[in-house]
Symmetry: C2
Subunit: 328 residues, 2 copies
């Protein structure tokens, strides 16, 4: 059994820089036609010079040439002129609350302070990507952020706001309420819970922000994705850290190698549903013009590599039911 | 400033065997007059021959001679005759649900199956210590176990049932409802939450079973301990694992070195409250005849050792406000 996906897109991807980028890039480039590349490097990608150099570094390291990096800027107080210049070259601007995830120390502590930037973005039709968590108790951070999403959605009705990596029942419900709220869902929040991180032995390869949640949260996310909500899209949030850093507690799940095989398992025959989630919704919602690319999924068992460079992938060494043609 | 504790007792303690025992023992023996020693070794302590050898090993390794190990047996289908023989030499019998924590693979899967043993224990006045967790979702395991505590408390009204290391609001409330339900509270569940394990970087030294819970659970536990409920006692559940095993995900917090200093910090002047929690409640509830021992706490800053043998203690390297005279 096999089927073909048309132009799969990863709407939330961390590629890092330097050696790490070289090690992980091919796993995304071979499975996807495009990826929205997160800007939380050190220093952050917050000007066009840095962004162009970063895009160049990605393109130069591509072996699979047919992959489009959709670049993002790290939110700061951009001027109209800066964003006018950026518009054609960026997909979105990413808001990180201060100190909430990897390299977010330069993030936002007051949302109103950025209203002038959001007004410019609304006018220039630049989407806003949001890591929506407060600094509260780890299990409550995302639901505590919901009022801020509502505030933004109501105050900027023409701004397209992407709630990144939603992980709770509350946000899965919120996405239905506002036509300008969009959501990405990761593989790990769709398939796993806190039990996978800490139910048996502690497994740091399931540690990420937002943290994995409860079986109820997961069930609601699964329903949202299965029903094919038009504003819900796949974003892996694949976030590689070298093993040494993971053992020091770094947050991030490196899911890129297993993304399509596990999504095929989840959709299990509903290939139209997978096509919507992995590509059609994103292309329609943001009018993305990505060169077409066909990716074939085979129902042939595949063993996940034990390590990629110095990074342990999600489900390392396990045998999966599906594989991507030509990979691994 | 200094004050003296009379005969402090740790009502829940893992001392392990061999080299690990040698490395960790002094930290408990120097701070406490006695400790209830858990039987989850490999193989478990489930017969008097094994128990006597284990007690002998503990006593032989004591540098501080004034420490009484209160031994426990791992629950299995004991006969009347066996328990009659054991009675004078054990404090309690410990029930582990199957597979729920370190070395609990030989634990219990059906509670009714052990009613005949509980009847004998009730008659012989041997307390039952319980690790009260189901095999459910990690955050729900303890509250899901509450009906089993109620079932046991009602079916065996003269059996003293100790709910070990309670970590949730629900069990903190349950202890008030039945005169034959007792509870131990650990240092880590009293002071920390899931945020300490996973709110920032992942910190395996805060990983234990039951898992650390929410700020609400902690607040209710703190109220219970502060009000000095007569059936609530200190049990550290200090559970050393060598660093190599911790990095492989082993569950357990090695809190013995910081037990009294941190409890002094928590009670902060209410030394009568601390005395009740650390000793008086336990001695009265179980009529413990422990040789008296005075332990002096000094308000002099103390730095927690970075490592004890091959084990990282709780708050390793941090500076605490209190210390125990003659230690560290």
């Amino acid at each position: 059994m096999s089927f073909k996906l048309d132009t799969p897109i990863d709407m939330h991807l961390h590629l890092r820089e330097g050696k790490l980028l070289k090690d992980v890039l091919q796993w995304s480039a071979e499975q996807f036609a495009a990826g929205v590349i997160m800007p939380n490097l050190v220093p952050p990608v917050d000007n066009m010079d840095r962004l162009r150099k970063y895009r160049k570094e990605i393109l130069e390291n591509l072996k699979e040439k047919q992959f489009t990096p959709l670049m993002t800027l790290f939110l700061r107080h951009y001027s109209y002129r800066e964003l006018e210049e950026a518009k054609g070259e960026i997909f979105s601007i990413k808001l990180y609350p201060k100190g909430i995830t990897t390299n977010s120390e330069k993030g936002v502590s007051s949302i109103e302070e950025f209203y002038p930037v959001f007004e410019i973005m609304e006018e220039l039709e630049i989407p806003l990507s949001v890591h929506g968590e407060t600094n509260g108790f780890v299990l409550d951070r995302e639901r505590e952020f919901a009022p801020i999403y509502i505030q933004l959605a109501e105050r900027f009705p023409k701004l397209k706001i992407i709630m990144e990596h939603i992980s709770t029942k509350e946000l899965a419900e919120l996405v239905r309420d506002y036509p300008n709220l969009y959501a990405t869902v990761t593989l790990h929040h769709l398939l796993f819970t806190l039990d996978d991180l800490a139910g048996g032995r502690l497994n740091p390869h399931f540690f990420c922000k937002p943290i994995l949640k409860t079986p109820v949260d997961r069930a609601v996310l699964q329903r949202l994705v299965r029903e094919g909500h038009p504003r819900v899209m796949f974003g892996s949030d694949s976030a590689p850290h070298i093993l040494r850093d993971k053992l020091k507690g770094a947050a991030g799940v490196f899911s890129a190698p297993v993304a399509l095989p596990l999504l095929a398992h989840f959709f299990d025959g509903d290939w139209k549903g997978l096509q919507r989630f992995i590509s059609d919704n994103a292309r329609r919602n943001f009018n993305l013009q990505i060169p077409e690319k066909e990716v074939e999924i085979l129902e042939i068992p595949w063993e996940v590599p034990h390590i990629v460079g110095e990074v342990i992938p999600l489900l390392a060494g396990e045998r999966l039911r599906f594989r991507v043609r030509g990979i691994g």
